[in-house]
């Protein structure tokens, strides 16, 4: 085995990043930052008035308190019944949902963390996940604690979702065009042109990598690396061709024949067309977009900054930039929502994106980037630190926007 090896997330695991459904928590995770929890609870040990416990059964929904001061509330819901249950905090009209936790299996506990302004509400447990639920009145008094605005501006969310779908579609179209050109050059034996086009085409794949990976059967056909193969598995796609174009690191490599080249090139073009067909009908939700942004940074951290993705061509920094591009587009689209709900997080992520980009820009050469081999160990460490710096607040984005 001459190829790189690293633990690669399985397709199933990576898909999970996009498959998550939105839950209704309305509030950003409080920062780890100090001193947010130094207001001692009024009632002693268990007396935090913003901590409410809910005992849900098949017939009952026992809420430890019927009121709380405004601010960040936590409902700790325990399902003591036999049916799968849900818990909601509803506005006074009994319709608008401020927050929900769903799919709580028997015996399990889950927290609903949200910020509620003063007003009248209803709590509701929904054993069996059907019907109106078992409701009780719940009051939030004015504590003077300025809570983040509750509820989501549906218009902002719809716009974000629509724009992201358009971005994915546009990137896919560019991917199709450039993959066609790349495959044509490669099949025709124009190696110089193919090498030039390889990173330029892959940029469009890497920008939407988490989406592409969500179609489980396509990713292994198109983006598998040699080290990821099972014994006996046929190797196709981008990296198979990459090795043929840059065989310098391979030992005793036998170049592909013209006929083989044509087969692999046609296969890549066809799979790309299939991807485009699937993307056309794809829609996205804010949690998918946010998880996708985080997922793209995870890709950078595990595969690109380590120089493992483009083992043969050493064009990892092109992919690095493309992953960051995609993550940033996802974030930028969500900013109107984040700015409403957690402006501090919005600022932090924005600053860290900028810092990472400034670092990446130092390694530009021509239309692209220097070879991964040109990076010193210190430069790789700098990039890795900047990725970690961004990925940490980005991991809190989903909870802030759902």
């Amino acid at each position: 085995m001459t190829g790189p090896s690293r633990p690669r997330p399985t397709a199933a695991r990576r898909r999970a990043g996009l498959a998550l459904t939105a839950t209704g928590a309305l509030l950003a995770l409080p920062l780890l930052s100090a001193c947010t929890d130094n207001t001692a609870p009024a009632g002693g040990d268990d007396g935090d008035p913003r901590a409410v416990t809910v005992q849900a059964t098949d017939q009952g929904c026992s809420v430890s308190s019927a009121s709380a001061p405004s601010g960040n509330l936590t409902f700790s819901v325990t399902n003591a019944g036999t049916k799968v249950t849900e818990f909601y905090l509803l506005a006074s009209d009994g319709l608008r949902i401020l927050g929900e936790v769903e799919n709580i299996g028997p015996g399990l506990s889950r927290d609903l963390v949200l910020s509620a302004p003063p007003g009248s509400y209803f709590t509701a447990c929904k054993p069996g996940m059907v019907g109106e639920g078992i409701r009780s009145a719940f009051a939030v008094s004015d504590s003077g604690d300025s809570a983040a605005p509750s509820g989501t501006d549906a218009q902002l969310v719809a716009t974000a979702n629509k724009n992201y779908a358009a971005y994915v579609k546009d990137q896919t179209e560019q991917l199709v065009a450039k993959t066609d050109a790349f495959a044509t050059a490669y099949a025709a034996g124009d190696d110089a042109k193919a090498r030039d086009l390889y990173p330029r085409a892959r940029v469009h794949w890497e920008r939407i990598e988490t989406v592409a990976e969500s179609f489980g059967d396509l990713d292994p056909k198109m983006d598998l690396r040699e080290a990821d193969l099972e014994a006996g598995q046929k190797w196709t796609g981008w990296h198979r061709i990459e090795k043929d174009l840059w065989p310098a690191r391979a030992k005793g490599y036998t170049p592909l024949t013209t006929a083989q080249r044509k087969t692999y090139a046609a296969d890549l073009v066809q799979n790309t067309a299939t991807l485009q067909g699937k993307v056309k009908t794809s829609t996205f939700t804010v949690d998918q977009i946010a998880n996708g942004s985080r997922g793209l940074l995870d890709e950078v951290a595990t595969g690109k900054v380590t120089g493992e993705e483009e083992y043969w061509s050493r064009t990892d920094l092109w992919d690095f930039q493309a992953n960051v591009d995609g993550a940033r587009v996802g974030f930028e689209g969500l900013r109107p929502v984040v700015q409403q709900k957690d402006p501090a997080l919005d600022t932090e992520i924005d600053e860290r994106f900028t810092a990472l980009q400034e670092l990446l820009d130092q390694h530009r050469r021509g239309a692209g980037f220097v070879s991964y081999d040109d990076l010193s160990t210190g430069e790789v460490k700098q990039l890795s630190d900047a990725v970690n710096a961004l990925a940490e607040p980005l991991s809190r984005l989903t909870a802030a926007v759902v």
Partner: protein, 444 residues
């Protein structure tokens, strides 16, 4: 930052199942023990530091793994605290040049460290609570584990103040004269990736997983402000820092640190460990100390081939008891003048015990707190093993540098040693409740 659960009264148990929405970092044991009554008394505090000498007899002490040391106090814990069995040491570099980031990092570390040393989760929600769409604010591998006498000690390196004359955070005027990169010593073979650092964390615990959990969570909190530079695990203590502890052995098989400074010797600690009130540059460090870290590889395979005679000659003590070769028992003072046949001294001129004895070093002593390490093996089939040496001193210029120069030149033991890592840190005094580690450095 009031933390009503901080136990600072010996033998005081805290309930294990307290649960507050904004403060879920309850005792990790409570999480697994469920909401049962009869909470486990995991929080029973030991008297920290200097109070140890007055501790009552062991009658009502909880099991050692259930004990915790107070975090807040005059001095940082983890110095005179009875040495725990395990170490995870980590050095960090700041990746932000913003002074506010440095301050907030020290604040956040202080809060999280105070929680974890009491056996609680790193963050207010804990490892299994909080918004379902957010990563938990604690990593979780210490769930169900008791405090295990965890201490977390934070230090500040010379490069935090100035790098190449550049004043990074407006602290150059407060860089103590003694806080300079250690000089090159004869025989040093230092690796940059095992040396230096802007900040350090020494996490000691009787449970290795608890120590690793502490460093991991503090590293996570630091992302974007500071990044891990190097880290070192130590699996067995080589020093005792209290008269209540037996002397441990290093990987040469000898008792190490017989003459170590002990918590029960407050006047000696004042004389050798704690930084006294000083000039404007170092006044913020009063009550703190300097931490010398040296990764010392031992060529143990070669050592193991030496006759017992040679091993004892090099050390200057008996392998069995640790008694000086001039006679007596472990704690008998060595007699360097005593001679045997042919008028040769019983303790050889190059014996380690002679080289490092205070009588031969202007009376200076160190508080050593080192740990044995084995970091796998090398390509030659030899263990990458040795001593991760940690010493706390009031001034490295008088209490470490001259001694190490002498050892490196003339100590028979040096033949079996190679120093591969080196760092010096200023360890600020302890924080009062509501304050943070290093706060005095930033006071105007």
């Amino acid at each position: 930052m009031t933390d009503p659960s901080t136990p600072d009264v010996p033998g005081t148990a805290q309930p294990a199942t307290r649960r507050r929405a904004r403060d879920r970092g309850v005792s990790r044991r409570g999480v697994l023990a469920g909401a049962g009554a009869g909470a486990v008394g995991v929080g029973a505090g030991l008297a920290g530091g200097l109070g140890l000498g007055t501790r009552e007899s062991s009658a009502a002490q909880p099991a050692p793994e259930a004990q915790s040391h107070p975090f807040y106090g005059q001095h940082q814990a983890g110095i005179v605290t009875p040495a725990q069995d395990r170490l995870h040491f980590a050095a960090f570099d700041m990746v932000s040049e913003d002074r506010a980031d440095l301050v907030s990092l020290l604040q956040d570390w202080t809060v999280a460290a105070a929680r974890m040393t009491q056996g609680r989760d790193a963050g207010p929600f804990g490892a299994t609570s909080g918004p379902y769409d957010a990563p938990p604010d604690d990593t979780g591998e210490a769930l169900g584990l008791p405090p295990s006498r965890l201490t977390i000690t934070v230090g500040l390196g010379p490069s935090l103040f100035t790098v190449g004359g550049h004043d990074r955070y407006g602290l150059a005027g407060r860089q103590p004269v003694a806080l300079r990169r250690l000089p090159h010593f004869p025989g040093d073979n230092l690796e940059a990736e095992r040396s230096d650092g802007d900040l350090c964390i020494q996490a000691c615990s009787d449970d290795p997983q608890v120590a690793v959990h502490a460093v991991r969570n503090l590293a996570r909190i630091a992302f974007g402000r500071a990044a891990l530079r190097w880290s070192q695990l130590g699996f067995g203590r080589t020093s005792s820092t209290s008269t209540s502890q037996a002397t441990a052995r290093n990987l040469f098989g000898f008792k190490d640190g017989t003459m170590n400074l002990k918590a029960e010797e407050p006047s000696l600690l004042d004389q050798h460990v704690w930084v006294p009130p000083g000039d404007a540059r170092s006044s913020w460090l009063t009550g703190g100390s300097y931490l010398v870290a040296r990764r010392i590889n031992m060529t143990i395979e070669t050592w193991d081939r030496q006759p017992l005679r040679e091993q004892e000659r090099v050390i200057g003590r008996s392998k069995a008891e640790g008694a000086p070769l001039s006679g007596g028992a472990e704690f008998t003072q060595p007699d360097f003048a005593l001679t045997g046949r042919a008028d040769q001294p019983l303790i050889a001129p190059e014996a380690h015990v002679r080289m490092v004895h205070p009588d031969n070093n202007n009376g200076v002593q160190m508080l050593r707190r080192g740990y044995n390490f084995v970091d796998g093996s090398n390509g030659l089939g030899r263990m990458d093993a040795g001593l991760f040496f940690i010493a706390y001193v009031k001034d490295p210029r008088t209490h470490y540098i001259p001694v190490q120069n002498k050892i490196a030149r003339g100590d028979g033991l040096s033949e079996y040693l190679q120093h591969t890592g080196s760092a010096l840190f200023a360890v600020p005094p302890g924080a009062p409740e509501g304050g943070y580690l290093g706060q005095s450095l930033f006071a105007s």
